[in-house]
């Protein structure tokens, strides 16, 4: 059963066709990678899932509900979390606060106001957030300001922020970009653990090592169209994929 269904999605920017009749099915509980050369429309596609962009035509449904025409926070409340290419975190807040905020959002909904309750009295959520931080190896820095973290740490923090919400679908936009080999491997391990919990993941990634260690299915996007969709073993040898990447290299 597919949890995310994308049907005939088109998106134009001025004269440029960014997405051209994209179709995509993501099976529940799988890791689905989207790869493709630069400018193929990967991020545009992801933006159409989270309400940042509205496709010109086509449909995007998640768990039977359309994701079009609703706001990003509503999409998240349906169970879709996203990790950005450049980490989006609350730089002026501490790490533990960064993780507690999504936990609150999950528990209390999009808007909730009980100013008489204190953060200090939320032991349960605090514990949950600390666990999540130790999962990503940041528990030692829980009281530091997030803005002072290294880029790699920020990315792991963002991942923790998404995971604490226990999402049904996790969208990752190049989760290992700019990481060292060691960090990348740690992240792969982490994502494998997440996958084992049954979280569905859509990953955009350039690093083929990451893609082939994780993905159960791969869609190749080129010039706004899905040219191939298959299991990793088949993708590796597909001439169309190599074509697209070589063509892409010239761009």
């Amino acid at each position: 059963m597919s949890i995310l269904e994308v049907n005939n999605v088109n998106k134009n920017f001025g004269g440029l066709k960014a997405l051209n009749n994209v179709n995509l099915q993501v099976e529940a509980g799988t890791v689905h990678a989207i790869i493709g050369p630069n400018g193929a429309g990967k991020s545009t596609l992801l933006n159409c899932f989270v309400g940042r962009l509205e496709p010109d035509t086509g449909s995007v449904t998640f768990d039977g509900e359309s994701l079009l025409g609703i706001k990003p926070f509503q999409i998240n409340q349906l169970g879709v979390s996203r990790v950005f290419q450049t980490p989006e975190i609350f730089g002026a807040l501490t790490l533990i606060e960064n993780v507690m905020i999504p936990a609150f959002a999950k528990r209390d909904g999009a808007f909730h106001m009980e100013p008489w309750r204190s953060v200090g009295s939320e032991a349960g959520l605090h514990e949950q957030a600390m666990e999540m931080l130790s999962d990503v190896g940041l528990d030692a820095k829980a009281d530091e300001l997030a803005g002072q973290l290294s880029r790699g740490d920020k990315r792991r923090l963002e991942l923790a922020m998404c995971l604490v919400q226990d999402p049904k679908l996790l969208l990752l936009d190049e989760p290992t970009a700019g990481m060292s080999r060691g960090d990348t491997n740690n992240t792969i391990d982490l994502m494998k653990r997440i996958a084992q919990r049954g979280v569905t993941m859509v990953v955009i990634e350039h690093d083929m090592h990451v893609v082939f260690s994780l993905a159960e299915k791969i869609s190749v996007l080129a010039q706004g169209t899905v040219i191939v969709e298959d299991v990793p073993e088949k993708i590796k040898g597909d001439p169309r994929v190599q074509d697209a990447y070589l063509g892409g290299a010239h761009l």
Binding site: F73, F90, F111, P115
Partner: protein, 401 residues
């Protein structure tokens, strides 16, 4: 205490003590001495410390937490004042209904202004709030004169149709604003040696309201809701992708701070039943911004300190004239005395604006976190000196208190 953690309880207790003892603390110099000029322990100014403290605390909930810089908050204070005076004209000179009405009316007005202005962010938001406030001022000053009494300001008169109360007292005066019989202008005076301390009923009412406001502000700061407001300031994008609707958070903060402004306006007319249009002018909105930043935006205590500092300057420095100056330096030979007075004169008395401007610049340049940063630095510095060799200096960042 009261659901606060130890540090916040300590802070709250400190503020309670300071406000309770203010009549002593603010009058350190004996009456009649040269330095008595610097005493601030008289009812009007002490009330102002409290009232503008409330205004700045509320503004800080919006600006300090969410980062939305409103340039129109004086409008809510003004609207609250008008509502308060009308209550006193029409209903009763008991200040409680007037204050409640001020908060309600200011809250409703801020809901409307906030709903529209929060459609934009950054300086566009600031300009929208500025535009609303300036329109309120211009209309209150002119076209709305039947409601606001324009330039003169709305005040009580001898023939107000007061429903629960009397239009005038038996001896033909306007009844005084009171809190269930305690008149706001009543004071007890205590003379000790050369010192004179004034305990004013209005001040203590304002102080209690300020303490309640301060307590609520602490609770908001420490609540998940307060955390969300700081998240609004830090990264709205992340917030919405985290499943949080930023607009109602910002709007709630806006309305809360608008209600604080209304409360301040209501207290102002409770202490002194007159509402003038100038208190809605953009410089008045600018003043609360200055208070908050001067004290330290985003800190709990900062706004109160900033408000008190500015009001102290406005009321004490502006009253030092050159006769007073000559008095101070009368021990000097004539020529030197004139010279020293000539040097100092531009900065005090009618030049107090100049000192104020210089002070803003110095604080912003050297203490970006406002006066609170200065206080924290001093604390750390003293801490080091005291702890000295016994233990390693505490390098924990000076968290805002």
């Amino acid at each position: 205490m009261l659901g606060l953690n130890r540090k916040d309880s300590g802070l709250f207790l400190l503020v309670i003590c300071l406000t309770a003892l203010a009549p002593f603390l603010l009058n350190p110099f004996p009456e009649g001495s040269e330095l008595a000029q610097f005493n601030a322990g008289y009812p009007d100014l002490m009330q102002r410390f409290m009232i503008f403290g409330i205004f700045a605390i509320g503004f800080n909930i919006l600006f300090g937490l969410t980062g939305y810089l409103s340039f129109g908050h004086a409008a809510f204070l003004g609207v609250g004042s008008y509502a308060g005076v009308w209550m006193m004209k029409l209903l009763t000179v008991n200040v409680v209904p007037a204050i409640i009405m001020s908060v309600i009316v200011a809250g409703l007005f801020s809901l409307v202004v906030g709903f529209i202005s929060l459609r934009r962010s950054g300086i566009y938001f600031s300009i929208l709030t500025l535009a609303f406030a300036q329109m309120s001022f211009a209309l209150a000053y002119s076209v709305l004169t039947p409601i606001t009494n324009g330039e003169t300001g709305l005040q009580l008169s001898l023939n107000d149709p007061r429903i629960l109360g009397i239009s005038q007292t038996v001896d033909g005066s306007i009844p005084a604003a009171n809190f269930f019989g305690i008149e706001m202008r009543d004071s007890l005076e205590l003379a000790m040696g050369g010192w004179l301390f004034t305990f004013n009923a209005g001040y203590y009412l304002a102080a209690i309201v300020m303490l309640i406001s301060f307590y609520i502000a602490i609770r908001i700061f420490r609540s998940p809701f307060g955390m969300m407001l700081r998240a609004v300031k830090s990264n709205q994008q992340r917030m919405s992708y985290t499943g949080l609707n930023t607009r109602p958070y910002a709007l709630t903060a806006f309305v809360i701070s608008g209600m604080y402004a209304g409360l301040a306006g209501g207290l102002m007319v409770a202490m002194d039943p007159l509402a003038g249009a100038e208190r809605m002018y953009w410089t008045a909105s600018g003043e609360v911004v200055l208070m908050t930043i001067l004290g330290g935006a985003g800190t709990l205590l900062g706004p109160i300190i900033g408000a008190s500092a500015i009001k102290y300057f406005e009321n004490i420095f502006s009253k030092i004239n050159d006769t007073v100056l000559h008095g101070w330096f009368s021990f000097m030979p004539d020529g030197l005395q004139d010279f020293v007075v000539a040097i100092i004169h531009p900065f005090i008395g009618k030049g107090w604006h100049l000192t104020l401007g210089l002070m803003f610049m110095l604080v912003v340049i050297f203490l970006p976190g406002g006066l609170m940063e200065g206080i924290n630095r001093l604390r750390i510095w003293f801490g080091k000196r005291i702890n000295g060799r016994q233990q390693a200096p505490d390098h924990a960042p000076a968290t805002s208190s």
